[in-house]
């Protein structure tokens, strides 16, 4: 199958730079996949599982949270706020974050801002736990 250049970057560095066969991501409107020869495209990323299929057929899974995906003249760039490969996810930390966020939400009496922050934290930890599959 044809491949295309893919770059995945976060503020913590460039995590992937090379050829890929396919990338599947959760965007704000739902899951989407990019193949080689895609039209120029731009969307914002949601929170969810992402999958990169390498030219040798190997699949790599990651937790992808926020950011943007763009395809420009054949090059796909994923600039995410957080992108963690399945093996890099700290499951204990995610579980801890989940229980902490649940506690905060259960306690109640929060301002809108605090509520949004706790909810975002809970959702992030859920994505991490889901992707890690442990």
């Amino acid at each position: 199958m044809k491949t295309f250049p893919l770059k995945i970057g976060t503020p913590d560095g460039l995590l992937f730079d090379g050829e890929a066969e396919r990338i599947i991501c959760r965007a704000i409107t739902g899951d989407l996949a990019i193949l080689a020869g895609h039209v120029n495209f731009c969307t914002a990323l949601g929170m969810g599982k992402a999958e990169v299929v390498l030219p040798d057929g190997q699949r790599r899974t990651a937790a992808c949270i926020g950011g943007m995906l763009s395809v420009m003249d054949g090059t796909c760039r994923v600039l995410a706020t957080t992108w963690e490969w399945q093996d890099d996810i700290d499951i204990d930390r995610a579980r801890e974050a989940k229980s902490r966020a649940e506690e905060i939400l259960a306690k109640g009496g929060l301002t809108d801002q605090e509520y949004a922050a706790a909810e975002a934290k809970l959702r992030r930890s859920l994505v991490r736990i889901g992707v890690s599959g442990r």
């Binding site: 770059k7 970057g9 976060t10 503020p11 913590d12 560095g13 460039l14 965007a27 704000i28 409107t29 989407l32 039209v39 120029n40 495209f41 731009c42 969307t43 914002a44 926020g66 950011g67 943007m68 763009s70 420009m72 003249d73 760039r77 600039l79 706020t81």
Partner: protein, 289 residues
């Protein structure tokens, strides 16, 4: 003669204690610099890719439904100025402010500043430039989450029409030896377009597909883009500040050493002169007997 010697001795002592301080500051700066440099280097690819992507989008964009994209109707520019917390870093802060002045001189309308770094807050207060917020006065502890807060603040004020353009003013970390103050436009995206290039105007624009639609996409990505760029610029600036301080303190230490050497020579000369004089006096006294 004796009083002269004492004065020189005191001078040497004071220069020595200053040298101790500059030496210590240099060591502190270079140990901090190592960490800051790694941080700047890891953030740089993201920073560059982000900027490149948005430039590509600005060049190819034909959909002006989002306020972040269309040419701005409002005058006035908001500068996000990232400077240092402390002085004694050679020309670091001065170069940044000079760049800011040179850049803002050509801008029509009012200028607002979002200062990051204590020195920038002081500068804006002295110059009576209105500040958007003084919340981020310290540059050292700024994390990525703070950058998101800054980005949201910038976006909210931009949408309200408080200013029509947003520019970033920071210092690029080129190497340990050289840093350069730089500004570039970040909002609206229309400002990013490289329109001076005549080749580009002739080129047919490749249409970009936005999913679900342009204004929703830009609403979601613009704050992220701003936060990413600001974070990258903060990393670069912090590394630049430390490198500039290390250089300045290094040369200060060298100058102090030079000064001590010179003073020591003067002191020795004065000492020798006083001994010679004493001998002459004794000899003259002996002859008189």
């Amino acid at each position: 003669m004796a009083s002269d010697m004492k004065a020189v001795k005191l001078r040497i002592k004071s220069v020595q204690s200053t040298m101790q301080i500059t030496k210590a500051m240099e060591l502190v700066a270079s140990s901090k610099l190592r960490r800051a440099k790694t941080r700047a280097e890891t953030a740089r690819p993201y920073f560059e890719e982000l900027h490149q992507t948005l430039r590509d989008i600005a060049n190819g964009n034909t959909d002006f439904s989002s306020p972040y994209v269309r040419p701005s109707s409002a005058d006035g520019t908001c500068y996000v100025v990232i400077g240092g917390d402390r002085g004694l870093a050679g020309g670091y802060n001065a170069n940044l402010f000079r760049k800011l002045e040179a850049d803002s001189a050509g801008e029509p309308g009012e200028i607002t500043v979002l200062p990051i770094g204590k020195k920038v807050v002081e500068y804006a207060a002295r110059r009576r430039i209105p500040m958007l917020s003084e919340q981020f006065a310290e540059v050292a502890p700024i994390k990525i989450s703070d950058c998101f807060t800054i980005a949201k603040l910038l976006c909210a004020n931009f949408r309200e029409g408080k200013y029509g353009h947003v520019k970033l003013c920071y210092t690029t970390f080129i190497s340990m030896m050289s840093q350069r103050a730089d500004t570039f436009p970040i909002l609206p995206l229309n400002d990013l377009e490289e329109s001076e290039d005549p080749e580009h105007l002739k080129k047919i624009r490749n249409l970009i597909l936005y999913e679900p639609d342009a204004s929703q996409v830009f609403d979601a990505i613009v704050p992220e883009y701003l936060a990413g760029l600001i974070y990258g610029a903060v990393c670069e600036s912090v590394a630049s500040e430390l490198a500039a301080r290390r250089m300045a303190m290094d040369s200060a230490t060298k100058n102090a050493q030079e000064m001590i050497d010179k003073l020591q020579l003067n002191y020795n000369r004065a000492r020798q002169a006083s001994i010679t004089q004493e001998i002459t006096e004794i000899v003259a006294g002996a002859e008189g007997v």
